[in-house]
Symmetry: C2
Subunit: 125 residues, 2 copies
Amino acid sequence: MGRVLPLDGCVGGDSQSQRVALVRASVPDDAEAGMLAELFRLLGDVRRTKILYALLEAGELCVCDISAAVQVPEASVSQTMRLLRASGVVGNRREGRRVYYRLADAHVRMLLDVCREHTGHEGSR
Amino acid sequence: MGRVLPLDGCVGGDSQSQRVALVRASVPDDAEAGMLAELFRLLGDVRRTKILYALLEAGELCVCDISAAVQVPEASVSQTMRLLRASGVVGNRREGRRVYYRLADAHVRMLLDVCREHTGHEGSR
DNA sequence: ACGTTATCTGAAGATCCGCGCAGATGAGGA
DNA sequence: TCCTCATCTGCGCGGATCTTCAGATAACGT
């Protein structure tokens, strides 16, 4: 992995380096950063993004509905849902032979909302 | 790419399919989903995540400070910043031979905040 | 109990992407 | 102008990931 020798770089010496020390202390550690990155990574895929926004709109959808909504083969949807469920981004409920998926919690919903604003899209909700 | 033949799947016929049609209409198209996914993807990496949270804390940092804060070689940081800047996640300002980076806008900041809550961390903000 | 429908799983292939190194570029200071 | 410092860029490798196919599993209706 990368060397980060504390060679007397530009980090100067006084106020700067103190400030940096403070920042370093508040930066998420590997464990937390890992969780955060993991969550973002899951959203960082066109297919998953579409599915999640579909769920944001619909509230709850079964695999075949999702497949129809985002135009993706059911097997692929299923595979994707497994990933999302494993990471707690979505929850599911079984009803007969159907399995209905939904966004896991309000945070995820808010996340999706905030992000859609960022791309300059006016929410429909 | 995947075939999505509209075979008379489970999508049933009546209320269900109508609902699905509505959802399909509101699902972001490839263009928008692409942008959203791209943004999330950029955040979906431990190193980048750390850097972004460092910027969230510090407000503004130069490459070498970032390097010190997240313990990553400067060249790597530089490379990473290029990515983030190209996608408009961060902005930069040059001062002498230093280049200071900062989070691009309030949306990104909010995004980071919301997400940190999700992982069960009490914000320091 | 049987066939059908809806969903899940496992594996293999192809692709993509980040990482770090080494050298180039730009900005100051003497 | 020469030298040093901060940052940037091009390249190649290693690794991780998405995709899809094909078969397995679970739930129903008859």
